[in-house]
Amino acid sequence: MSRVRVLVGTRKGAFVLTSDAKRERWDVGGPHFAGWEIYHLKGSPADPNRLYASQSSGWFGQLIQRSNDGGKTWEPVGNAFAYDGVPGTHQWYDGTQHPWEFKRVWHLEPSLTDPDTVYAGVEDAALFRSTDGGQTWRELPGLRGHGSGPSWAPGAGGMCLHTIVLNPSDPNRIFIAISAAGVFRTDDAGKTWRPMNRGLRSEGIPDPNAEVGHCVHHVAMHPSRPGVLFMQKHWDVMRSDDAGESWHEVSGNLPTDFGFPIDVHAHEPDTIYVVPIKSDSEHYPPEGKLRVYRSRTGGHEWEALTKGLPQRDCYVNVLRDAMAVDSLDPCGVYFGTSGGQVYASTDAGDSWDPIVRDLPAVASVEVQTLP
């Protein structure tokens, strides 16, 4: 019988939630790395017991932890993230140029085929790769060397590379997203990169249609259809049907098109999920009602999913990496909140239950469907 493992990163540690395929009773493991910020942890698709976690603190910096037994035990691996060559400068909040400085790892994306290969998206924005299970890290410098680097600027949360999407049908093609620069794509395994932001329009930057400078919050892809991408931007939910070459808005009837996460149903490539948030200054759901919105048409037409979610006095946020799906049938959908709840739906979003209520603020949720 299949099992589900939910990996939860929080402000004060990591938690591993496990259940059988019914997804009714959950065991809560953790906290691992108690007291540390866990921005993200994720399992290898090639070896589900191989997990990687980004562990950081304002005091003691960045660590990477690795597990070979599905999160029961962990070992620290390499934590030296040195930019390639002279780091250069990017735009600072006051418009001046500011040196690139490593701060933390926001996102870890294990290779689809090799458990020892894993990508790290870091702040200040850059992409690193390890091919030895996290022991050593090398920057893929072509991204920062693209030429637009000096014009990249931090968003309110810092200048972070937070999204890494690997193409299952073409290992040389990778998408990444940076706040606030936008989406970039490589077709040669990271040597060279192109900005992929045509069609994005952001009122908060001097040229709303600029080639770079957009505050992209998250990008999702269904593995069966790698040419179609969905994006939650700072404002606007967007879609690309040509692998990022152009984007069009699909916000449709959402109550607000601000938000952070976006994800795709495991078996229906046109069924997507977002969590509308009131605004960029009010990071909570509109009207105090926590609602996931689902589109079964790849955007434009959205339905509110409310059953089991608080519909009054709810003022939590859901961060960009804090939503994931399992691959069971019906598809399970999971998300975590700044209030420490992790909600799960075992019916593709029709109804929800909190599988744990009182964790520290949740930064990330990833799901593994295990044989």
């Binding site: 007291g35 540390w36 304002g58 003691f60 910096g61 620290p76 934590n79 030296a80 040195a82």
Partner: protein, 98 residues
């Protein structure tokens, strides 16, 4: 032997008790202590001083003999009592957060 007291998070990371004893080669300085500490416990690399610059991380402090040595040169001699193992060298996570 030089006695080094670690903050709780680094004790957990290195899987040691509060205090570790280090054999330091040459003059007893902060740099020599950290080199010995990181050689004995590689998982602590980058947590006390930056990987690249080797500078003290901003919210880490160094105390010994009721003195704050955080701003001393990494090559300055440590107090004799620390060098002799009579007093510990304390690595502290600075109080912060209100």
């Amino acid at each position: 032997m030089i006695r080094v007291v670690l903050p709780a998070h680094l004790q957990a990371l290195a899987r040691v008790r509060r205090e570790v004893a280090l054999q330091v080669e040459g003059p007893a300085t902060q740099r020599a202590v950290f080199d010995a500490l990181e050689a004995a416990y590689p998982m602590l690399r980058g947590t006390i001083r930056d990987h690249v610059t080797r500078q003290r991380r901003p919210l880490v402090r160094f105390f010994a003999c009721e003195r704050d040595l955080s701003h001393e040169s990494p090559d300055a001699p440590l107090p004799d009592a620390v060098a002799m193992g009579e007093e510990p060298f304390l690595i502290i996570g600075a109080m912060a957060g209100g």
